[in-house]
Amino acid sequence: MQPSGQATATSLPIGSDADLAWVRQHVRQCAAQLGFGLVQQTKLVTAASELARNTLVHGGGGRAEITPLDNGRTRGLRMRFIDSGPGIRDLELAMTDGYTSGGGLGLGLSGARRLVHEFGVDTEPGRGTTVTAVAWVAPVPSSRPGVG
């Protein structure tokens, strides 16, 4: 993922339910401006909602970085959710459908991964968690690499 255009991120705070609504709204409007179709917009907003809520609920708050991308062939959106909370001890377990450490459905992380084209989690116990999700307007067919 090498954006040829300069990646200017928009940083949004995640500290309350109202902030979550704001992140969703921002992602929806950016996605629409970048040329994402309605279904893709809905998927991006839903993924953002899941990941931002994890940042709030499990990470104790943090911020979202929303960055428009252009790889020269198509445009995309990178969403990064950053907290300095407890981190995820067992990432494989956390990524399992249905696993929750609270009373959730346990579909936020694993579901969000399916809603985007590139997905990566950078976490360290005691240090925090950064989740990165990228979607492209016109993805290269059958290429779904992960991000570090």
Partner: protein
């Protein structure tokens, strides 16, 4: 073009931020008011109630919806309750969980719940998220849900001769 998009995103953000600072308290107060106002339970027919949900379905909102729906089920002796989500822009795992809890609670009160108004983009997203709404009765639109509830109660809606010729 990308630069323009970036600029627009950034500009809008600045505008939003300024507005929020100035009106944070007002917005919070209005949000509280909306909590109460925006969840009317409507009696559609004898034994059938409906809630048209509009906007974000966060935990506080869901709690209010559930309470007023259960209350209406008792008051109206409703056997059928319709949750219409046409006006809900995002259905993520938390919203889905709230919906399922409301359906389960209504069931305990002796009412069957029907969720209507799941738009195509939302349906696709729900499936990919992995949410299983298999136990929830759904209909495409509020009118389909009403037709279902009526027919289950043995009520038939038909066009009279007069109505047909007037068309």
């Amino acid at each position: 073009m990308l630069a323009l998009t970036l600029l627009l995103c950034t500009l809008r953000l600045v505008v939003m931020e300024t507005a929020l600072d100035a009106n944070a308290e007002l917005i919070e107060r209005q949000r509280q008011q909306l909590l109460e106002v925006a969840t009317p339970v409507i009696k559609l027919w004898e034994g059938t109630v409906a809630v048209p949900l509009i906007g974000t379905l966060d935990s506080a909102r869901s709690q209010v919806v559930m309470e007023s729906l259960l209350e209406a089920i008792v008051d109206q002796r409703a056997r059928y309750a319709i949750l219409d989500i046409t006006g809900v822009p995002t259905v993520d795992s938390l919203v889905a969980q709230h919906l399922m809890k409301t359906v389960a609670a209504a069931r305990l009160m002796g009412a069957e719940c029907i969720v209507s108004g799941i738009r195509p983009a939302i349906a696709q997203t729900i499936v990919q998220l992995g949410i299983d709404l298999g136990t929830v009765l759904t209909r495409a639109s509020l009118s389909d849900a009403l037709a279902y509830a009526l027919s289950k109660q043995g009520i038939e809606v038909s066009r009279t001769d007069a109505g047909a010729s007037a068309r």
